[in-house]
């Protein structure tokens, strides 16, 4: 029993209600001024200098090896790109010339469809997800970039090279259609160069690019084999050119800072500019000597990786581990205090917060709403000898991100059996701020996963977070190709509509598995479901093999590769991993979205048609065909049928069977060199567009509505609370395969439910139990429903409101109305 009181507000809600600029006081005026300038700038704008300069360079290097072309383009960029330093900046280097959000476009990726994207964004003016494309930007894209890249970009080449049947499943009957995927079989290799990635930034900090350059030079000088002249030499030359490019770029900033200092009247700013000059003169060329240099070097590493390519998600690595020596040394030598370290961190976060992912492909944009960017900072976890790795920086970093109303970067905590209560308590408190940070990943699940996939114990203990709930061994894994996947919604619809998809013009997409009216047992339903699932899975793998094969002809990434042990050892660009780099762990990811929708649909059919015989096939199929119109009683039966996520064993078991089927399929069809496809059930926001193409399903869901997300139950259908939801989800998984990759779990609480010290303790207990249940990932949305509804009505007042989406957070006002509704519809867990 509890008493009714006025709603408890989270720190975020309180800050908005009181019109404050930050949640807590530990933000300097400098940082707040920059924050305001960025939020004041408005929607993000496309940053085109990189695209234009890359295009210029590529026009000059057409017959050369791809990795060399990339390095030369990077160097051209470093020499020619306009640079800018803004007031208050301490960490410098940007691909644009305004203080505000920017998104680089990469014409070599999808230049063919860029004009369509431009048109989409121009039409979108004033709406959620708005992107600024000025007239001049549009002219550059349409007149300079598109003419060169049309037919030369990866997306169109990939599309054209797809086997006809696979292309049909991915793009529909019009062989020319490239802009609008069907969302039945999915691919992401055509919307990003690389799968989520975490570069080993620590190499820049400890060795400087000078050290990396020297290694490449020595290797190059030692090459004697004729074969190496073709395979290794270009890579090593590219590394050298890339190292030079990074140095050139930073020294231009050093020069600019020096010039600005000479003119600077403000006695406070002048020495700051001189420090910036000194720091940029030294790093990234040389190993960092101070904490400030380490942070700036880290940012150079990030920026160069972003200019090189997009991976949609750049993990920042285990920052509390690799920055600790610099912090401790400066602290001991009196160069820094926790406050000034916090300010430097926040300057870095403000830089990162300006970088957004702009997708010119409308479905990709819908699937990654709110400009999803997974800029993970991996904290906590264990050391390579298996001890708890929490240190003073773990807390300092978490605290530095806590106050700011920015959706990136994102702190993530590796939880393990010996995570100290002190850290967990603090984590629970930060979660209660209500921004959805930090997300948690589970050592108890990820480490065995890596061991099963051939990592050493030491390597497995050192894993990194990368992406919404993915992980990386940053010097062993090589899978930099976007993933394939399938839509469980389509599989479900095809099962009951004999392979046809109604939203997609009722065309025969799947297998003709027969008219359900002829089925007399649930086994027949299950067999049809598996046939459709297997069919789509097959084509998801086909497109993936194609991507792996042709991608090296289109992409290279010397700046990323030179930070990877195996790439350097074998002198191979990471984008050539389709040919397998010896010693690598080289997965590809297979995404499956809408699991809860499929489980509930199968359960409803089993329950209503076979077990209780309350419905006939005719009744159900007619009602679904009519999208339930005029059949409300039948829809209600379907809605009230047993649902996944409520501890009902036979229903959860269907989840297990589905997962088992896919895992076995992936296991039977591995990649070469004993590498495998990983099953991941992570939606980003793709469950919204995937739902849009899915007609009514037997779980009572109407046509076009979003699917269930991650491995969560359908929206609002897990009515027994978080303990049962978490155990149900645990039962619905098959952990016996090394192909079992990440799952995403969302839990939503009202702030009153986790109020006070008692609420914090409850959250800690839930987190500990989640870890024991061997879940992969969990994130929390702690927000009052009223706040979300108020934000729908008054977006201006709530323009800084951050909510949790799926593995990332975003500004609520950057989301489409449909996605906003989806967030509101998620089950809110209550404590009795």
């Amino acid at each position: 029993m509890t008493s009714v009181t006025t709603p408890t507000l989270t720190a975020q809600e309180r800050a908005i209600a009181e019109g404050k600029k930050s949640l807590y006081e530990n933000v300097s005026d400098r940082v707040l001024r920059m924050y305001e300038a960025i939020r004041g700038y408005g929607p993000p704008r496309v940053a085109l200098d990189r695209a234009v300069l890359f295009t210029e360079s590529f026009q000059e290097t057409e017959s050369q090896p791809m990795v060399v072309r990339w390095a030369k383009a990077l160097k051209h960029y470093a020499e020619k790109a306009p640079i800018a330093i803004f007031d208050d900046e301490l960490i410098v280097g940007r691909p644009n010339t305004w203080l505000g959000r920017w998104g680089i476009v990469y014409p070599e990726l999808d230049g063919s469809i860029m004009p369509g994207g431009v048109e989409m964004f121009r039409k979108n003016k004033g709406q959620a997800g708005e992107v600024i494309v000025t007239d001049e930007d549009a002219r550059l894209i349409n007149d300079v970039l598109t003419p060169y890249w049309t037919g030369k970009d990866y997306a169109s080449a990939f599309h054209d090279a797809l086997p006809e049947e696979t292309r049909f499943l991915m793009f529909g009957p019009d062989p020319k259609n490239l802009l609008l995927p069907t969302c039945v079989v999915l691919a992401t290799s055509n919307i990003r160069h690389s799968q989520n990635w975490t570069p080993d930034f620590n190499k820049i900090l400890t060795r400087g690019v000078k050290g990396i350059r020297a290694e490449a030079r020595a290797k190059l000088d030692a090459l004697t084999e004729p074969r190496d002249m073709i395979y290794k030499k270009p890579f090593l030359e590219a590394v050298i050119a890339t190292c030079d490019a990074m140095t050139i770029w930073s020294k231009r900033y050093a020069q600019l800072a020096t010039e600005m200092a000479a003119k600077e009247q403000n006695p406070q700013r002048k020495p700051e500019l001189l420090t910036i000059a000194e720091v940029c003169n030294w790093v990234p060329e040389n190993p960092a000597r101070t904490f400030h240099e380490a942070i700036q070097a880290q940012w150079w590493g990030q920026m160069f990786n972003r200019i090189e390519q997009t991976s949609s998600a750049m993990g920042q690595g285990r920052m509390d581990q690799y920055l600790l020596p610099y912090y401790q040394k400066d602290l001991a030598e009196g160069r820094i205090a926790p406050e000034s370290a916090t300010e430097l961190f926040q300057c870095l976060w403000i830089q990162m917060a300006q970088c957004v992912e702009i997708k010119l492909n409308p479905v990709a944009a819908a699937g990654t709403e709110g400009f999803s960017k997974f800029e993970d900072i991996c904290l906590g976890g264990q050391t390579t000898d298996g001890k708890d790795a929490t240190n003073e920086l773990t807390y300092l970093i978490l605290e530095s991100t806590r106050a700011l109303q920015i959706p990136v970067p994102e702190p993530c905590i590796r939880i393990h059996a010996n995570t100290p209560d002190r850290l967990l308590h603090y984590v629970a408190e930060v979660i209660k701020d209500g921004k959805g940070f930090p997300k948690l990943l589970n050592d108890e699940m990820v480490i065995p996963f890596y061991l099963a996939n051939g990592a050493t114990m030491k390597e497995a203990l050192d894993w990194n977070i990368s992406g919404c709930c993915e992980n990386r061994l940053i010097n062993r894994e090589t899978n930099v190709t976007g993933n394939g996947g399938i839509n469980y919604g389509s599989v479900t619809e095809m099962t009951f509509r004999n392979g046809k998809l109604k939203v997609l013009k009722d065309i025969q997409f799947g297998v003709q598995t027969g008219d359900p009216r002829t089925w007399t047992s649930f086994d027949q339903v299950w067999n049809a479901f598996c046939t459709q699932l297997g069919y789509l899975a097959k084509h998801a793998l086909i497109q993936q093999h194609l991507a792996l094969k042709i991608k090296p002809n289109y992409f290279a990434a010397p700046a990323t590769s030179m930070l990877h042990d195996l790439a350097m050892e074998h002198c191979r660009d990471l984008h050539s991993h389709g040919d397998y780099i010896p010693g690598a762990i080289d997965h590809s990811c297979f995404e499956a979205i809408g699991k809860g929708t499929a489980i509930d649909s199968l359960a409803a059919v089993k329950h209503l048609i076979f077990d209780t015989k309350r419905l006939t096939w005719d009744q159900l199929l007619e009602a679904m065909e009519a999208n339930w119109e005029g059949h409300e009683a039948i829809r209600q039966m379907c809605l009230n049928a047993p649902k996944y996520g409520n501890g009902i064993e036979w229903v959860d078991q269907i989840g297990w069977e589905i997962e088992h089927f896919i895992l076995e399929y992936l296991h039977q069809h591995p990649k070469p060199h004993d590498q495998c496809f990983l099953l991941r059930q992570i939606p980003v926001t793709f469950h919204v567009p995937l739902g849009k193409v899915t007609w009514a399903t037997p779980n009572g869901r109407p046509a076009n509505e979003y699917l269930a997300e991650g491995i969560s139950a359908s929206h609002g259908m897990d009515v027994k609370g978080p303990t049962v939801a978490l155990t149900s989800m645990a039962h619905g998984r098959d952990l016996s395969y090394r192909e079992k990759g990440g799952d995403l779990i969302n839990l939503k609480f009202s702030p009153a439910n986790v109020a006070g010290e008692e609420g914090t303790r409850r959250l800690m207990q839930i987190i500990r139990t989640w870890s024991e249940l061997k879940h992969w990932h969990v994130q929390f949305n702690i927000i009052n429903k009223q706040t979300l509804m108020a934000a729908q009505k008054d977006p201006d007042k709530y323009r800084n409101l951050i909510v949790r989406i799926a593995g990332y957070s975003a500004y609520f006002v950057d989301l489409s109305p449909m996605q906003q509704a989806e967030i509101i519809a998620r089950t809110e867990e209550h404590m009795g």
Binding site: M1, T2, Y395, Y426, Q636, K720, T723, R768, M831
Partner: protein, 324 residues
């Protein structure tokens, strides 16, 4: 409803997961049906009658035009009807709807018609309770029996509690103690934490507000405190405005429990109206329509009295901003 002493079945109202106010840690609370009191503020009116009973939530009904399934057999004729010219939703004639059972509510596609109370075996209950066991381990939680009055089904309750212990869970009950001592003797040996109500001190007023006087209750409490010195007892008062939200009552309860060190705490549960809608679902009248929750200031003042008497500073209750 005991049919065998080895695997008795009982009448279960509901099993609620993730309860955090019914004893230590994260708990699963099993509500048993049937109560020997009639508290006017009862927030679980569906738990009082010791038989399964029909309930109806009109807001879920989609009406005769779209459904109307309850207007046909096997439902008793006249039990359900529609008012012509109105909203076309079903109305219930509670006098005729007395025989409605499972097959009747199963017909209703929306769950507007449903049944309170279900016969369950010890095994069935514990299997569902056990789903949460990982959470008990982390939080020190376990199973709580509540009601109604769980001690009205003494064999079933004892068997549930015993089985919970056998499966390694902490046990608690919520009780009003208005049962024969022989029931208490059966149940309490298997309970770790006894949460029990001190509703009113005065026997006459107790009778007025709860239907019977409190002589048996008080005798049971004293005897339980004395007979089970190793059990943990937590006294509670549901704070009802104008009925028992006065200092005098609080002090008299404190005086009552003071001699017993095994009564470790005294909690106040401010009145709320969460149960009101359920009266309507059951076709009953809620008598406390004009009652409001006691003011936070009053609750705070009364809690301060308890804190002082129990020798606590009261600071623990307040949330502190954590600094790592």
């Amino acid at each position: 409803m005991t049919n065998s002493s080895t695997n008795p079945t009982g009448l279960v109202l509901n099993i609620q997961h993730f309860c955090t106010h019914d004893g230590p840690g994260i708990r699963t609370t099993v509500f048993l049906k049937g109560c020997s009191l009639r508290c006017k503020w009862c927030s679980n009116p569906e738990s009082i009658h010791p038989k399964p009973e029909l309930a109806y939530n009109i807001s879920k009904c989609i009406g005769k035009k779209q459904c109307g399934l309850c207007l046909k057999p096997p439902c008793s004729e006249g039990a359900f009807y529609v008012l012509e010219g109105e909203d076309n939703r079903i109305r219930v004639n509670w006098d005729l709807a007395t025989d409605c059972g499972q097959e009747c509510v199963d017909l209703c596609p929306t769950g507007a018609l449903y049944l309170f109370g279900q016969a369950m075996s010890v095994e069935q209950v514990l299997d569902e309770v056990e789903q949460d066991s990982t959470f008990y381990r982390e939080s020190g939680g376990g199973m709580t029996l509540s009601g109604g009055e769980c001690q009205l089904q003494p064999d079933f309750s004892a068997a549930l509690l015993q089985e919970a212990h056998r499966r390694g869970f902490n046990t608690a009950i919520e009780t009003a103690f208005n049962v024969p001592w022989s029931h208490v003797e059966k149940v309490l040996p298997h309970v770790d934490v006894v949460l029990h109500d001190h509703k009113l001190t005065d026997p006459e007023r107790h009778k007025k507000w709860c239907g019977v006087d409190n002589r048996q209750i008080l005798a049971n409490m004293k005897r339980a405190y004395e007979t089970f010195p190793d059990k943990t007892f937590i006294a509670r008062t549901p704070l009802i405005p104008g009925v028992n939200d006065d200092e005098e009552h609080i002090r008299s309860v404190l005086a009552f429990i003071r001699p017993y060190p095994n009564v470790i705490d005294y909690e106040l549960l401010p009145y709320h109206r969460f149960g009101e809608s359920k009266y309507g679902f059951l076709g009953r009248v809620y008598e406390l329509k004009d009652f409001t929750s006691p003011s936070p200031e009053l609750v705070q003042r009364l809690r301060a009295i308890i804190d002082e008497a129990l020798g606590r500073s009261g600071l623990l209750e307040q949330t502190q901003e954590f600094k790592p």
